[in-house]
Subunit: 383 residues, 4 copies
């Protein structure tokens, strides 16, 4: 029996890892220890513990470490505080391995604490590339990890290229795709998003087709966040199509984005755009699978939409360098370019499903790898 | 004029970077900002600020962050506390670039703070390999750095192999070799180490030849530290040669090492071994250049001894994987093996000087690179 | 020339100490060092540094330490983080004395850092009593302070009763009253609050009289915050009078208060209540001086309203035990009791001005005390 | 059943509270939760957890927070780090009350964390006075505490004078006296201290009478620590009597003290003084009860020696203001004055036992108070 600790520090990270958490919990040779911290604990970002409880997952430790400020100093201090706290929590817990997900800045705190404590570190979703500061964090975590569970062969190849032992790299697919694969969306949207989730803005009717928009501030360029969001807002408005818009996560720069959205709403109160904070992942994926297109810079456009066969108008640099399927249309932060890509996405034939980021069984494969892979700390051979 | 901050968190790090600090201070286009912290501030590890003052280097910030305990929890918490403090210090200072040296665990705190603040990070001595947890830290820092100043072509090649842009890698040599190159040791040892530095143990006479011993606890294996040091102590004793032994740095496990040394001293009060805490680097290098051999696991055996042409009996795994010249004899933690290697080192012809880690001008090259290289944050291309 | 550091960690603290800051800055024998931190740095609570710049006050250090969560854990961790940071800042600065204001929880961080560093600690507004956890903090700071500058004789007597040396207690009045004394409010409200500050809610007309409401969550009872605010909201609504309502500060429990306000607004969209986040202190005081009454639990009702001669309907326990003048009507968290007190306040003759908390010259007296009082650390005599 | 957490952060604190810990553990209505941290975890200060295990006490949480440096900055940062950690530990544990002991600087971290978390805080040994910075800490803790368990009526009166509710003050005696009362020392010293504890220095014979010396650096005056210890060393030497000298605790300034001792040992290698680091408390108390006198500035001279009837030559300001019995001879840091007091102590009739700090049942009374006193958070009435 191996005890596996998983550290979840943000709402999106939970959605990404959920199927693996369930598979670890249900695996006869594994015992799950769930540690929740940072923005995942805050109500205003969609409190993760409640969702975990609804999913039958017990939270073992809470780590309250988010320093306010939504700027680079706050990010660095949050990581420092998380490192102090996670060291204590993990030293007490001493699990057989610790799983960390992807590339959020606090992820480095987990990786360092675990490395220093001599506990094997497992990295899910390493080896990917996006072109932002996230790349640094993701690759630095790779260099601290003992077992790598990337989404696909291209990511695995990059991990090995960075000097990691191929015997410690297991391609599992990305567990976020498991959720998409599990959703039975039916022939048409099975619920009314406004009735179920409220939101603010126009009282739109999705039955005749709609866009879904998710645009995060880009960590390295937060001063331009307002201009970026405005270009997308105007392109969506120009399309004339109803749009369901999701607020971004609490990274640096969300203020600029928020201001842009507020200014747009005041200037164009009649635009058929409605703004939502969160949705249950199942509802969101059902919504996505029936959308005409996803617009914005979320990795959802690259990952889930590849599997679901939904066109993605990918704006700007946030996903730069990420492996992508044929469903993606890349555009700059330019109103007209975005509008043209929306038009093309909506009028072209729907792209086929692409297993680029997984085929729906990643959670199972992750649990199996955790149960069977060697969990001794890696000897780090010459790169 | 570029403002260059350099963070020094341990006595050995200062010795390694000193010639570069002097070259930065004296460069017409650079302004040096020196930040000293962690064990570099503590008297019992040889207070670095006094030495800096003697070298004409001004300390701009002091960062007191070393958590007591000499174990893995203390290492992780020291890094967390350093991250909190360095973020504040560097946010106030906002230099044009920050230089971090090598691979000590606190180095990650500097690298993360600098990365998040969007300040270009310069890494000196990246790309090397030793086979310990230091490798993880060094490589993780590489993935966070914007400009790489490695010691030699092999290290540069590893940095590029990890996905870094070759245009951002400048081979400078290692500044620690500059000190060795600058020492004019003369025909015989120009001072009496016991008279000048005291120390404890036998009152030995170095005029007929002597060994220098430096054996650090190995970070990943601190429980075995006592056994390791005992093997070396007994082999040195068996050689019958006078030995000058230097206490290790304050890493995890120094207690086991210290206990081994104390037990040996009680059991063998008449052995011709004398123990020193520190020496001025010039004196140490003069001492080294006249030694019959260096014994232990210090990188000095691989680096400085290569340049100086001094045989090095390298014990155990601490330097595993590090590029080495012909002066190095590798042995395991075995008393007899160590004794045999000492005998061979002492009786063989002296090896020639090898510029593997530098030719004496690294400090100048580092300053020049800092003055002229592009210091925009790197776009991190796909690995 | 004495260097005086003042630590400001919240918007209300700045308003309270402003006249003293100006007097310190302008005093020929003093040099001001302003340290701003915690919620005073956050935009959403009315960024203090911008206001300081407008007042001609230079910020010397920023200390970003507010841990998110708005609960007791966040308060304690914010204090811990503030203690770490302020120690570094004050160790570098080494002023001749440090001034801390009143009783906010982070105040203890300043007091401890200063005490340990052996710098004289000056406490403004000690010796008062309110009946909440703030009392503990305020009195604990008193026991750490070397010079006490209370608002009035009753507070001074309590400080001496706690064992402090009477020679180190100087009654100065409270500098927040200086602002009230300096405002020339004229015969009628000299500006339109909605036109100047926006806010949300009804578009009210203050010319026929109005209430001002400020109700903070009570630190010790944050679960009841929503019930408390609802009672006041309904009483204000029952009065039928226009009301200008100010959002509370970022203490524990503001969420409960916020939810109560949101629910009220949805249920009673036509109520003549308008909600404001902040006002320039001069405008706020002018607004207050023309109000029919202040309602809520702010200390403004006890302090500034005493001086201005404005009736205060003081709700609940937050100001319990605080010395008060004849302008105060105390009521429980009961809708009918609050409504009756509003009616009585509005229909009774206006109370006269009362110098209970100061006569308008506190800032000058504080500066003078800082320039002339002995600033050696106090010998703490037997209590 | 009440769960009682006790925080122990130093070796002397453990000795002081031990009988209460045992009584809490054995009380049918109480459940003990032991939290050990800071210097109590460090081997070089006599690792407390091993002693607890030998006493049958289980350690529930370890809090590694001691920042190195032995100066005021280190003290303040240790307190900040302890506050961060204890908040997490106590938030998870949520005991019915937390007990903190006396006046060490880290004690404030416990008091603040507990206060903010709304857990009742119990303070043992409050209300005493010594004239150093410890007074500030002790009294500040008093103002944060909900239940006070002082050693005697004079201390209780001071607590009430500071504004605390008399109903929340229970005189229990000091549990450190319980140890002294429990020791059956017999007619003569029942063990050979050198044989059992080693130590360094002269190989003395205690059978013809001896002094015990304990001199701590004085927190507020650490620069003078060396001069202070030298005066006592020379006075002890002048007395010609054998002396057993105990090394001080790890407070600020221990370096100055240590240097003074080292210099003395080199200058007077033949003096009949032997230096010890620690002893089992029972052995120490037996040693004390047979001593001719205690010399130095330890509270042991004021407290335990009062009960045991041993003369105490109390040097300098460290115990200034503390209530004392007739066994105490106060002297300044003057060699001749100390020597004269030693002579007088040794030649005068032995003082009778004095129950000033307890009669041997404090532990039982503390446990009983914890089981029966109201443990709601105190309403802090006007002082």
């Amino acid at each position: 029996m191996r005890t596996i600790a998983v550290v979840v520090t943000a709402r999106p990270s939970y959605s990404r890892i959920r199927s693996a958490l369930v598979a670890i919990r249900d695996h006869p040779d594994l015992e799950l220890r769930l540690i929740v911290g940072a923005s995942a604990l805050l109500d205003r970002y969609g409190a993760v513990p409640r969702r975990m409880a609804a999913d039958g997952l017990e939270v073992h430790e809470r780590v309250q470490v988010l320093v306010e400020g939504e700027n680079d100093v706050a990010m660095a201090k949050t990581t420092g505080l998380a490192l102090l706290e996670l060291t204590s929590v993990l030293d007490r817990m001493r699990p057989d391995a610790v799983v960390t997900v992807a590339d959020r800045y606090e992820t480095l705190a987990t990786a360092i604490a675990v490395s220093y404590l001599g506990i094997p570190l497992v990295h899910v979703q390493g080896g990917e590339v996006t072109g932002s500061i996230d790349d640094r964090v993701r690759h630095a975590v790779t260099k601290l990890a003992d077992l790598h569970l990337p989404a696909n062969a291209a990511a695995a190849a990059r991990i090995v290229a960075m000097g990691e032992d191929p015997a410690r790299v297991v391609v599992t697919g990305c567990p976020s795709i498991d959720l998409a694969a599990a959703v039975d969306a039916g022939d048409r949207l099975p619920f009314d998003p406004v009735a179920r989730y409220g939101g603010v803005g126009a009282d739109l009717d999705p039955s005749a087709g709609y866009l879904v928009v998710m645009q995060h501030p880009v960590t390295d360029e937060h001063r331009d966040a307002r201009a970026h969001v405005t270009a997308t807002l105007e392109a969506v408005r120009a399309s004339g199509r109803p749009a369901l818009w999701f607020w971004p996560n609490p990274d640096a720069g969300s203020d600029g984005t928020s201001e842009g959205i507020r200014a747009f709403r005041e200037a164009h109160p009649d635009s058929p755009v409605r703004f939502f904070k969160n949705m249950a992942p199942e509802d969101f994926l059902a919504l996505l699978s029936h959308a005409d297109a996803l617009v914005g810079n979320s990795s959802v456009g690259i990952r889930e939409c590849a599997y679901l066969g939904v066109p993605a108008v990918n704006v700007g640099s946030r996903q730069q360098g990420r492996d992508r399927g044929h469903n993606v249309l890349d555009v700059t932060y330019d109103r007209d370019a975005i509008a043209a890509a929306i038009e093309r996405a909506v009028t072209s034939p729907r792209p086929p499903s692409d297993p680029l980021y997984g085929d729906g069984d990643a959670g199972q494969r992750i649990a199996e790898a955790l149960a069977t892979a060697p969990l001794t700390p890696a000897v780090h051979h010459p790169a």
